[in-house]
Each structure stands twice: as C-alpha cells, then as structure tokens.
C-alpha cells in the first residue's frame, strides 16, 4: 500500500506539473515571437553600433589626416572593424532565422506587437485548461489519492506497538530526562557564581543528543497517533522545557548559577506539564 501511495505521488506530481507547465495556444504563439524578436533587436543594435563606429572612424581619419597621427587612426579603424565584424555575425544569425525573407516583411515593432499579443487573464486560464487541464487534473487526483493512502499508512503504523509511536517511547524518554535533570540539579545546587561547570554542560549535551533529539526526530509518529491538536499541546510544553535547558547551558557558560537553577526548575516543570498533556491525549485516544 505504501509503495502504491508513493508511486501515485511521484507519477501524479509529474503529470500535474507537466500539465501545469504547458502554455495555451495564444500564449504559446505570442511567446514564440520573443526569440526572433531578441535576434532582430540585437541585429538592430549591432547595425547602430556599426554605423556609429563607421562615423567615429571617419572622424578619427580626418583628425589623423590633419595632424599626421597614424597610431590613433589605426586604433580607430581597428575598433570600427571589430564592431562591423560583430554586426555581420549578428545579421547572419538574423538571416538564418528566415525573418528577412518573411512575407509580409517583419520589423522589430511588428515582432514586438506579436510577442505581446497576450490574451486577457480569464481567457488565458480557460485556454490552458483546455490544453493542459486533463493531464493536470489526472495528476492532481493521483496526488490526492496517494496522499490519503500514505496518511492511512502512517496512522496505522502509529498504533502498532512495535513499529508505531510505541517505538517512540515518549514517557520512557521523559523518565530518563527527568532522572538526568535531577542529577544535574543536585550538581548545581551549591554551585557558586562563575563556578566550574564543564561536566554539567557535558551532561546537558548528552541529554540533548541522546534523549531529546531522537524524540524530536520521531515526533511525526506521535502526531499521527494523537492528532495535531492534542500533540501540539504536550509537545509544545516539551519544547519549552528544551528551550529552558538551553538557557541553563548558556547561563552556566556565562557563570550565572542562579539563573541556571531557575531555568532548570522551569525546564523540570515543563516536562511535568508535557507528561500531563500526554496522559490527557492517551485518555482521549482510549475514549
């Protein structure tokens, strides 16, 4: 069933996206003129540049004649030649497009008008639906069916004691975290301001890496088990506790044992609140 869900998703997204990509006939026609328009505009610009280069070269030659400055004349002619060569290449591109032999003849302005002949928004939408709609619609349907199959699978898994949310042992992990924090509380109970706290911070890092992070990684199973609304209540309390543990860590780094103790107390209270929220969610499940 899961394989079917993913197959439907992948094929469905591909089909729907393909259907969504295609342009309606009027838009397609309009856009087809943008490439040749670009070439025509470039050729126009190259011609203007060549014309300007020619005029400039004439000025330079006249100046050189008067002053006998052959070096400057040479440079000017070289530059004009380069621009003429570039213009020739661009015009060759233009010739290859067939634009120059089009009947009726096309100018930059007529090409521009053709490329901007866009249908109004509603007409554009209807045209697209007539061309890409069937593929897009079929793909959409496949995505929806696949999504519901996958959601059913995830929910069924979450109720399986070996592979479901039972595999993410929320209460068991909470017990371990609370036990570890009780030990941390004992260690910092008499810690002076600016006292050494390296081992305590290492223990907090261990709690984060070995207990909190795996629980966070498995949270979607918990959400599938209890539903988003109930899940968010107890998980939010858990996250608040996590944030307060980070504050404990920061305060210990900064040498502030008082704030560390206060934050640890808030973290422990948050974990109790998370436990109570879980219990309520389980009761709701049972009823």
């Amino acid at each position: 069933m899961r394989i079917l869900a993913w197959l439907l998703l992948i094929v469905g997204v591909g089909l729907a996206a393909a259907g969504g990509t295609v342009l309606g006939p009027q838009m397609s026609t309009a856009r087809s003129y943008t490439g040749p328009l670009g070439v025509a505009e470039e050729a126009m610009s190259a011609l203007e540049s060549a014309h300007a280069a020619h005029a400039s070269a004439m000025d330079v030659l006249r100046h050189a004649e008067r002053n006998g400055d052959n070096t400057t004349a040479q440079k000017g002619v070289q530059e004009a030649t380069a621009r003429l060569t570039a213009a020739r290449a661009t015009i060759a591109d233009l010739q290859a497009t067939g634009l120059l032999s089009a009947s009726p003849p096309l100018t930059v302005s007529t090409l521009k008008a053709a490329s901007e002949a866009n249908p109004p928004p509603l007409e554009r939408l209807m045209e697209w639906l007539s061309v890409g709609g069937p593929w897009w619609g079929a793909g959409l349907l496949m995505v929806v069916v696949g999504a519901f199959l996958e959601r059913r699978h995830v929910r069924a898994q979450s109720r399986n004691p070996t592979t479901g949310a039972g595999a993410v042992d929320f209460l068991g992990t909470l017990d371990q975290i609370e036990h570890a924090l009780d030990a941390v509380a004992a260690q910092i109970a008499d810690l002076e301001m600016d006292g050494a706290s390296g081992p305590v911070r290492d223990e907090l890092d261990r709690v984060q890496d070995e207990l909190i992070t795996p629980l966070v990684d498995g949270r979607m199973q918990l959400a599938a088990r209890h539903g988003n609304a109930m899940f968010s209540i107890y998980f939010s309390a858990f996250s608040g506790a996590e944030r307060n543990l980070a504050r404990v860590w920061s305060a210990l780094t900064d040498g502030h044992s008082v704030v560390a103790r206060e934050s640890l107390a808030r973290a422990q209270a948050g974990l109790k609140e998370a436990r109570a929220g879980w219990d309520r969610a389980e009761l709701t499940l049972e009823s």
Binding site: G20, A96, T97, G139, A147, E150, N228, S236
Partner: protein, 597 residues
C-alpha cells in the same frame, strides 16, 4: 545556600538593545546602497552577532549569550527594511522619470506603509513561533549558524576549531570565486560531455553553485530538505526535456545553435517553471494555514494562559500576551489602510479593500517565506513581491502608485517574518525568552524603514542628478561612472509592471500551481509543497548544491550517527554559512570603497 555575589544576567538590556540599534542603522544605510549598486542584500544577523561578541564579551566583559542574541535580533530586525524597500520603491521612482503622473505620491503614505509592513511582519510571527519552531522544527540554517556562534564560548576547543575551520574554508572558496580562480558555477557533466564532443543543452542543467553557504544549508537540513532537491530534478531533468521534445518551446522562426537553446532555457524558466513554482508556494502556504490553524489557535490560547499564570505567580512571562499581538495587528492594519488611502486615486472603500487583501496576502506570503527560509535558508521574496504588486494592480484597477506603495509594505513585512523567525530559532537554541526578543523588535521596528527611506531618497535626489540619482537611465550609469547605481531589482519590478499593462500575468500557472500545492500538502511530509515550489522557482544550480548537502548529511548520519551530526557537522556547516557571509560583505565593501562594481 546563598551566593556571595549575584550579578544581574543581562538580556533585554539598554546596552544590548542600543548596540543592536546602532548596528542596525549602519547596516541599513550600507545595505540600501549595496542593493542599489549590486542588486542583492546581505544578511545582518551574522555580522551583528560577531560585532556583539567582540564588543559585549571582549571589550565590555559582559558575559551573557542571551544579551548578544538580543543585540543581533535588534540589528537584523532593523536591517530587514533595506532589502524589502530596495526591491519595490525604486521601481516607482524609475517609472516616474518618464511618467510625471507617478511623481504624485505623498511621502507620508510611504512612511506609514513601511512601518506597517515592519510591524505586521513581527506580529504575524508571534503566534506562529510555536508551530514552526517547536512543532514543525524548521531548521533555519542561518539561525542555527548564529546560535553556534553565540554558544562558542561554552563549546569545547574541538567544536570551536571545527567552526573556525569551516569559516576559513568558506572564506578561501569565496575569495577564489570572486577573484575568478574558481568558477561560480561548477558544471561537471557538461564539461566532460564537451570533452567527449557531446553537447548538453542549457535546459538540462548539471551546474552546481559554488557556495559553501548553500552547501552548509543543505548539510544542516539533511533528510528534511530532500523534497527541495527532488522538485529541482522534476523541473529540470524531467519536465524541461519533456516540454522541449513535445514541441512546447518552439520559436516562430528558425533560431540556431546556442541562441535557440538559451531562448528555450529562458522560456522554460521565465514563462513556465518559475510561475508554476510560485503557484505551488501559494497553494502550499494556504493549505498550511488550514492544517496549522488548530495549533495556532491553541498557541494563542496558551499565550493567554501563560500570561495569566505568570501574573498570578508574579513571575515574568516567557511569551508576549495576546493583547500585544492583537494591538500590533490592529495598529499595523490601520497604518496600511491610511497609506493606501493617501495614495493618489484611491477612495475610502478602495483603501479598505486594499488593506484587507494586502493583509491577507501578507499573512500567506509571510508563511511561505518563513517556511522556505526555515527549510532551505532561501527566500522567494522577489516572486512574492511580484504577486503582491500584481494583486494590488488588479485591485486598484491599474493604479501603479498605490500598487507599489502597498507592495513596499508587503515586501518589508515578509522579509521581517523570515528574519524574526530565524532569530527566534537562534533564541530557542541559546535559551532566550521569546518575549524579550519580540518586545525588542516591536519597539524598534520603526527605525529601519525610516533610515532606509531616508538613504534611498538621499541617493535619488543627489545634487546634480537630474532625472534621478540611480537606475540605468541615470547620468552616472549612462556615462559609465564608478558611482552608477543600476538598481537591477527595481529594473525587474519595472518590467513586471510593464508586463501587467500588457496582460502578461501567468494566471494559469499560479492557479494550476496553487491547486497542485494544496493537493501536495495533504501528503504527510512537512512543507513538501513549499519545497517543491521553491525548487521550481529557483535556478537549478542552487537546488543541486543544496541537495548534495542534504545527501551528505544523510550519508554521514547513517555511518556515524546523530551525535556526530550535532557535534561535528553542525559547527562545520555553521562555519560555512558564517564564513561566506562575512567574506562576501568584506569583499563587497572593499570593492565599493575602491570604486569598482
């Protein structure tokens, strides 16, 4: 027990906030100039965190990680106005050069719009914080990088060396790319194919952006970022070849060789994939609103309950009470309404409609940007601002001035959303109280818009700059002077406005993409529609580089376990992000100072 000396633990302190404000003002002024010159903005959080580290901890000997977090929150919050403004307002100024009717905009409307945007972006995020950071656990790679930086005094030497090592490698790569020793794009398949005499067209790209920050974002995201990579593969390795081979991208006349292939690439990207991606983003965000609604309602209730409990116990609450959210939202809405009403040609009813629709779009777009940034560190700001201006254009019956003024508010707001959420992620990782970060930003959010507006108009009305001090038609740019500010982003929005006037709005793509995004959101993978849409929206070289980072994370996690990821990979990836940001900033400022561009 009693402590002999109990010093305060500064967090929301005058010094921290003042330093953040000062940095924010300087960065805003500088980044407005840089964005007009070069077309891109720069992140402020990293710079502010490092300066704060140096000054607060190093010079003033104030040992407080959370105070430095407030400093960087304030600085980056003020700075977000710069990129939001520079993308939108200059377009109006540039258009007004040839169209005198567009010069009739009241300055007050702009002030109200920018402040409304800044305020609304912050209040939108407050109830979404729990959902995005605590429940969905969006990564916010830059937020993680800044947190790693802030925590560095307490991490072991080995972690500090990993962070530094990552930063140095990033600096070397960034300098090498900027100096041309390394290509900005690494195209392994096309290069090898060319050696073998094969020609791979540009619309089947294999190029990877050479960016340690992009790779670092992927390394931090891991498995969660894979839908982004697969979206890019779908767009460019499946859809693009299918579209070309089925004849969907054919010119009306014979184009040859590279001219043809480059045109095809441009059409595929600009007319097909990018607008479809924007549609997916919109659909994904709207679906996300519906699915998150119960949790958001729950979050508002818990804000109220927490405020009540704190009041009864005399303790300081960790979250802002809902009254601040409602008050801020109402205040921002009123400012937006006034700014719309002051725009020329807008009546009372029209202004109300603009304010309502603008606020709704702002909410949707803010969620999109926060989600996208949360997964990938990439913000589709330009595409969403484009939609904002398009929406307003249709609502106002083609009133360009009103469209852009409201577009300014929306652009600043959505930028503020992403920045605030990233800062709150940093706060979560270092133990900051969300309330303190939110208060700091709410109280100072008006500064950035005013500074950005001031600098922008200073540059526009420069002495001797008849017809405008920036833009391609400015005297400096026409004569190729070193002080040319070409405002490329404004140029892009100008062409959008021109396209709207020619009926060229990709409505079919937006609608088709939105419904696909909505359908995709039913699948139980968080943010899948936003990620796939973002991948279609962006060039593939970014997606590919990021995807390699995700896969590297997954491979390392499989071989070395999650502890390795947290202790070794995270600081290296953070170094990648921080190093590139700092060097890029230094490089940009150095070039400008030396008169280059």
């Amino acid at each position: 027990m009693g402590d002999a000396r109990v010093r305060p633990y500064p967090e929301l302190s005058v010094i921290g906030v003042s330093l953040g404000a000062l940095q924010g003002v300087v960065m805003t002024a500088a980044f407005v100039y840089i964005a007009l010159k070069l077309g891109f903005g720069l992140p402020g959080s990293t710079v502010a965190a490092i300066v704060g580290f140096t000054l607060l901890r190093g010079v003033l000997r104030r040992k407080s990680i959370v105070e430095n977090n407030i400093n960087q929150t304030v600085a980056s919050g003020i700075n977000t106005a710069s990129s939001g403004l520079v993308f939108t307002l200059p377009a109006l100024l540039l258009l007004s050069v040839d169209d005198a009717s567009l010069r009739d905009y009241p300055f007050a409307a702009l002030i109200f719009a920018t402040i409304a945007g800044s305020l609304m972006g912050i209040v939108l995020i407050i109830p979404l914080r729990k959902q995005m950071i605590e429940i969905e656990r969006l990564r916010f790679p830059s937020g993680v990088a800044v947190a790693t930086l802030l925590r560095s005094p307490g991490e072991g030497l080995s972690q500090g060396m990993l962070l530094l090592g990552g930063g140095i490698l990033a600096a070397i790569v960034t300098v090498a790319v900027n100096m041309g020793f390394l290509p900005g794009l690494f195209d392994p398949v096309s290069n090898v194919a060319a050696l073998a005499g094969l020609d791979i067209p540009p619309w089947v790209p294999f190029a990877i952006a050479v960016s340690t920050a992009n790779l670092g974002a992927g390394l931090l995201s891991g498995k969660g970022g894979l839908p982004f990579f697969f979206g890019g593969v779908l767009a460019w390795w499946v859809l693009a070849p299918v579209a070309v081979n089925l004849g969907w991208v054919e010119p009306s006349f014979d184009l040859q060789g590279s001219t043809l292939e480059n045109w095809r690439y441009g059409e595929l990207y600009g007319s097909m994939l990018r607008p479809l991606g924007i549609g997916l983003l919109i659909g994904g965000a709207i679906a996300g609103i519906f699915s998150a609604a119960p949790a958001v309602v729950g979050a508002m209730k818990s804000l109220a309950a927490a405020a009540k409990a704190a009041k009864e116990s005399g303790a300081s609450p960790e979250e802002l009470p809902p009254a601040w959210v409602y008050g801020g939202a109402i205040g921002a809405f009123i400012l937006l309404f006034i700014s719309a009403y002051l725009a020329p040609g807008v009546e009372l009813g029209g202004a109300l409609l603009i304010a309502v629709v603008g606020s709704i779009w702002l909410g949707v777009a803010g969620i999109i940007v926060a989600t996208a940034t949360g997964h990938t560190d990439i913000s589709p700001l330009s595409g969403l601002a484009l939609i904002a201006v398009t929406l307003m254009y249709f609502l106002t019956g083609g009133n360009v001035t009103a469209s852009i003024i409201v577009g300014v508010a929306i652009c600043i707001a959505i930028n503020q959303c992403a920045d605030m959420m990233s800062d709150l992620k940093t706060g979560h990782l270092v133990g900051s109280r969300p309330r303190d970060q939110q208060i700091a930003q709410l109280l100072l959010c008006w500064i950035g818009p005013l500074v950005a507006l001031g600098v922008l108009f200073l540059l526009w009305y420069m002495p001797g700059a008849e017809g405008g001090g920036f833009g391609p038609e400015s005297i400096a740019c026409k004569t190729g002077a070193a002080d040319c500010l070409s405002a490329p982003q404004a140029d892009a929005l100008q062409s959008v406005v021109a396209a709207l006037e020619n009926n060229d709005s990709a409505v079919d793509k937006y609608v088709g993409g939105a419904m696909l995004g909505g359908a995709l959101s039913i699948f139980p993978i968080g943010g899948i529609a936003v990620l796939v849409g973002l991948a279609m929206y962006l060039p593939f070289d970014i997606t590919l580089g990021y995807g390699l980072g995700c896969m590297a994370n997954m491979g390392l996690q499989k071989d070395f376990g999650p502890k390795f990821i947290g202790r070794k990979l995270v600081p290296v990836a953070a170094g990648f992000i921080v190093g590139e940001a700092l060097i890029q900033l230094a490089w940009t400022l150095g070039k400008l100072a030396l008169g280059g561009s």
